[in-house]
């Protein structure tokens, strides 16, 4: 089970399992313990999972937050996959989930998650990260806080610097 970085530190007891979309013709196999389902699967089976606190969803970088039917805030966890760290779509997905769809639960970056992108991820609304296994997790905290300020408004700081400068 991978270590998860959250605001309050590194957790090594995370039980969530990321479930891939079933191959066509096969049915969905749920693991033991809490499961992150592809958002497409969740969309189609929402009623079956309603009210369960052990079901979350994950977005791949081409999935669109607009397609989600129903209330995201019933989900305890949403993950966004970075298939390659250079694929920047996940940043927009995170902002949309937070700012447009009002998601307030845990938002986790998974996939090709490296140290030097953590600060931008945090700014876009992520609050939990599974760092790629070969990266030094002890350096994550420094990278998450590498800047003490930023020019733009984003999820972490709602007002751009120009509105705070004059305050």
């Amino acid at each position: 089970m991978p270590d998860v970085i959250r605001k309050d530190g590194i957790h090594n007891d995370d039980l969530w399992t990321l479930v891939s979309a079933p191959v066509e013709g096969e049915s969905l196999q749920l693991p033991d313990g809490p499961a992150l389902l592809p958002v497409t699967v969740w969309n189609e089976n929402q009623d079956a999972f309603a009210g369960r606190n052990d079901i979350g969803v994950w977005f791949d970088s081409h999935d669109e937050p607009e397609t989600v039917a129903g209330d995201l805030n019933q989900l305890p966890l949403i993950a966004v996959n970075f298939p390659k760290f250079t694929d920047g779509r996940g940043y927009s997905i995170a902002r949309l989930l937070r700012e447009r769809h009002g998601y307030t639960g845990e938002l986790r970056a998974v996939g090709d998650v490296l140290l030097d992108q953590l600060f931008y991820m945090k700014r876009c609304g992520f609050d939990s990260y599974v760092l790629r296994a070969d990266k030094d997790i002890n350096k994550a905290d420094g990278c998450l806080n590498v800047f003490s300020n930023a020019y733009q408004a984003a999820v972490d700081v709602k007002e751009p610097l120009f509105r705070r400068r004059t305050a």
């Binding site: 669109e64 760290f85 250079t86 694929d87 920047g88 779509r89 940043y91 927009s92 902002r95 447009r100 490296l114 030097d116 992108q117 600060f119 931008y120 991820m121 700014r123 876009c124 030094d136 420094g142 590498v146 800047f147 003490s148 300020n149 930023a150 020019y151 733009q152 408004a153 984003a154 709602k158 007002e159 751009p160 610097l161 120009f162 509105r163 400068r165 004059t166």
Partner: protein, 550 residues
């Protein structure tokens, strides 16, 4: 010019520290080459044919004399004592060592400079008209708006990993376009609507490179305070839907074309509707605050055409030529705009030595309120020179090699570093520029030809803007040999157009004669008032083709 406050300084200091750590980890093997790549690119460092190159940002082309002196010192201490002005108003070092780059960035930060986002798949340095705020036919000074865009785009958390690079340019003159806004990913033209309110006409999806396009207008009028929210909407649509499967189809122009400009505009409007009233919306106070950094210098009350100038022009033909060619009219009576040309034959266009950088700094202090502007034509502008000091200035700069009176003529060539320096190039470009300059060494003939843009790129990435040259030259590789393809009729001005390919390409040694023949056709066919481009547009490409391939 904008001056940093404690916020700007702190953010930049933290950036330098961040890159130092990244460089250390890269050198220690903790970051793979692939992982380090976008990090170093976004700090201006890219590895080229012979050595790493470092592209230093010059936001919207403005430099203070203290910054020029620092650049000179850096080229001496960390490089081979020269630098190169690029076609996007930036400065490049050709030979820095990778491990020195954090120190160079720290030295730059001390004078409020950096190499932020000068490369990589992110929002690049915003460019504008080098005559901003000193020309008379201008709606408003565009530089405060460029600075607002600079701050918004600096380390934007959502747009650091775009499908491809992204370039924004701003123009505020209704009769000229020195910023070539229609061949940028976003071109912003400052306009007033029928009610007299200030705003922007927004072009999206122009660009050069492999698929050159003139950008369509996607919004006729955007109100002044909505600039940043609208940019954010455009970038978000691009970040989400721009192609990432093929590097050559990843620029926003491909997306705009695929969606159609109307379809793309609709998508942007839908996105913008959600965020137009978000805190990112500009405030009047912020615009006014930034404008306070771009106030007029302390002009004296003077008259145009002082007798000292008139008599000097009468005495010296060479000075008179220079005034005609390299000096432009200024909105303030008694002042002129002077362009120092960095196009002396035999020197790569845009190259300057450390000593020359210091000379330019001295000239700026003595003649132009301590500031200069860099142009995308790879020249340097002293924007506020007293007319009664022009003669003295000219006598000073001629021995410094800044006084070649060829501005906007055939030999004022835009040219990328090409195969001599650049790993991407298919062919050399600098020797072509030099051979053409040698062929056309008669100034009187050049003046008779008038304005002709000749642009040379060493490959289809088009750093030399060959598509928008009235005469464009593109280096191509044919079975390992360097050849040159010629196009005619391009323009980066308000009447922006992509040039048409003349025909099969030429060997290097043929190029000066090819250009001569093209020019001959113009001279024979022009009417009295026609520029090269006018004649081309009237008679078409065939007469040129017949002559060149006869």
């Amino acid at each position: 010019m904008y001056v940093y406050d404690e916020y700007d300084r702190q953010i930049l200091t933290e950036r330098v520290a961040q890159f130092r750590s990244q460089t250390d980890r890269a050198l220690a093997g903790e970051l793979s080459e692939e992982e380090f790549l976008p990090l170093r690119l976004q700090n201006g460092l890219y590895v080229q044919r012979l050595a790493p190159m470092m592209r230093i940002a010059v936001p919207y082309g403005m430099l203070r004399s203290v910054q020029l002196r620092r650049l000179a010192r850096i080229t001496r201490d960390y490089d081979k004592g020269y630098a190169h002005f690029t076609t996007r108003q930036n400065v490049q070092l050709n030979w820095p060592a990778i491990e020195d780059v954090p120190d160079i960035l720290a030295e730059l930060a001390e004078v409020e400079m950096h190499a932020n986002q000068t490369s990589g798949n992110c929002i690049r340095n915003t460019t504008t008209d080098q005559f901003a705020a000193v020309q008379s036919n201008e709606l408003i000074d565009p530089r405060p708006y460029c600075e607002l865009i600079r701050q918004w785009s600096t380390y934007h958390p959502e747009f650091a990993f775009l499908p491809r690079k992204f370039k924004v340019a701003v123009n505020a003159s209704d009769s000229t376009d020195r910023a070539a806004i229609q061949v940028h990913d976003i071109g912003i033209e400052m306009v007033r609507n029928d009610a007299g309110e200030l705003g922007y006409r927004v072009y999206v999806g122009g660009g050069l490179g492999r698929t050159p396009m003139v950008g369509p207008v996607i919004r006729e009028f955007l109100p002044e305070l909505d600039l940043l929210t609208y940019l954010e909407a455009v970038l978000r649509v691009y970040n989400r839907y721009g192609r990432r499967d093929n590097k050559f189809k990843a620029r926003i122009k491909i997306l705009v074309k695929a969606m159609t400009p109307a379809g793309f505009a609709e998508k942007v409007e839908a996105e913008w509707a959600h965020i137009k009233d978000s805190p990112t919306r500009l405030t009047r106070e912020e615009i006014d605050r930034v404008k306070t950094f771009f106030t007029e210098p302390d002009y004296q009350s003077l008259e145009n055409e002082p007798s000292a100038l008139v008599s000097a022009r009468g005495e010296s033909k060479a000075f008179d030529n220079w005034v005609k060619r390299n000096v432009d009219s200024h909105k303030q009576p008694g002042y002129s705009i002077v362009t120092l040309t960095l196009k002396k034959t035999g020197v790569p266009p845009g190259d300057v030595s450390d000593k020359q950088l210091e000379q330019i700094a001295d000239l700026a202090d003595q003649y132009s309120f301590g500031e200069v502007r860099v142009t995308h034509q790879q020249n340097v502008v002293l924007a506020d020179v007293r007319q009664d000091q022009l003669f003295e200035l000219w006598k000073t700069i001629v021995p410094m090699d800044f006084g070649t009176a060829n501005l906007n003529t055939l030999t004022d060539i835009i040219c990328c570093p090409g195969g001599d320096y650049c790993a991407l190039a298919n062919a050399k470009s600098i020797p072509i520029a030099e051979a053409i300059q040698r062929e056309f060494d008669d100034l009187d003939y050049l003046y008779d030809l008038g304005d002709i843009d000749l642009n040379i790129s060493g490959c289809m990435n088009a750093c030399g803007h060959h598509h928008v040259g009235n005469i464009g030259v593109l280096g191509v590789d044919k079975k390992g040999e360097e050849f040159y393809q010629v196009s005619l009729g391009g323009s980066s001005q308000r009447d922006a157009a992509i040039g048409k390919i003349l025909g099969p390409s030429f060997a290097r040694e043929e190029m000066p004669r090819v250009v001569s023949k093209i020019v001959d056709v113009y001279v024979e066919r022009r009417t009295e008032e026609e520029t090269f481009l006018d004649t081309y547009r009237r008679i078409g490409i065939d007469p040129f083709k017949e002559r060149v391939y006869a």
